[in-house]
Point group: C2
Chain length 218, copies 2
């Protein structure tokens, strides 16, 4: 009873996400949003509240639609596979061209006006959740013997996130997926190696030449 909504709320949300992803929060005007969604101002307000609530609904949408790789990565059976899955998913999402480039969260989390600072802080908090999840996963890997005993899991989680942020910056600047993938390979190749169980240093396969004592000395 009453007129039915003509536009598809989910489609409008996807369109809004795409604009926010590209321009960030402050760089996106309400006019941009009405143009991209094809919905007039009151329609968007009626469906989503206001610009800020729409923004966070879009970010949530980004999370559920595009960040599944993170949960998949954290569920991988070993640390190396987890990190690989993470970065592969990351560079795939961050080099999408039709929908967005870089990371929608990062694109709003760097600098803004004083009035928008609370929004930025919320985005930073989301990044922090991801870093914490990595630290927990790495600590589990450490306990399971996948990482050298001296591994600083907080540092390594911070490192992984720093690299990911940097890849996001480069993706937003136009870097190709292939060039980002090469960086990912380097990162994977330089992850702390699993400690060896035995000391047959001269007969073990090549990776066994990586001795934990070298890192302990640091």
């Amino acid at each position: 009873m009453g007129r039915h909504r003509e536009f598809d709320v989910d489609k409008a949300l996807d369109a809004a996400l795409s604009v926010f992803w590209k321009n960030g929060y402050e760089g996106t005007s309400f006019e941009d949003l009405t143009r991209a969604t094809g919905v007039a101002r009151p329609g968007l307000y009626s469906a989503f509240g206001n610009k800020e609530t729409l923004f966070f609904k879009a970010i949530d949408r980004y999370d559920t639609k595009h960040l599944t790789y993170l949960r998949e990565a954290l569920a991988e059976p070993d640390v190396h596979s987890a990190v690989r899955r993470f970065f592969e998913g990351s560079i795939t999402v961050q080099t999408l061209n039709g929908e967005g480039r870089g990371c929608a969260v990062l694109n709003g989390a760097l600098a803004c006006s004083t009035e928008t600072e609370p929004i930025r802080q919320e985005l930073i908090a989301r990044q922090k959740l991801t870093e914490d999840a990595w630290r927990v996963r790495l600590e589990r890997g450490l306990q399971e013997g996948e990482l050298p005993p001296s591994t600083n899991c907080a540092m390594l989680a911070g490192y992984l996130m720093a690299v990911n942020h940097g890849l996001g910056v480069q993706a937003k600047a136009g870097a190709s997926k292939a060039s980002l993938a090469a960086i990912v390979e380097h990162v994977l190749a330089t992850l702390p190696p699993a400690p060896t169980k035995k000391r047959d240093a001269h007969q073990a396969p090549l990776p066994s030449h990586r001795r934990p004592s070298r890192r302990d000395a640091k």
Copy 2:
């Protein structure tokens, strides 16, 4: 012959830099600038042109005042020292609290409205110059035998920049200098090693246990 300017142009520029560094270009209003500089609108226009020209004068100021470490790093005698100097300088500048956090260039280079896109592209171009300088420096290091023959200098330059961008993001989000320094140590420890000249693997100092053949096999 005429009234003398009462404000110090350099001090005003420093104040403007600080605001742009914190809020980015679009997040900084002209009101923010007049407040921070203590100079009225016409005075700022008279001295600097308009908001955009002031922004780039501020970025140039950032370059000359704070990015000397980059030139110093590129002038270091060996690659390892160069990279170390680079990151040490970077995390020092990016964790300054009074003046700014993160990187003033990066803070404006991620996302913005359509009208501001040319400004963003200019900032991206500056980042690209730095990455190119690193690639050239690494290629020189490769020729001088400091890096394994298989080293992909473009990839490594991209990697260094990605890490640096990521450190900037984390610094802007409030990370401490010490936590960034730990990440830097990890990066330095995982740089491609100089190839050994001889094969006295059992008597050389510890770093010599890093064999180029391991990277070649990758």
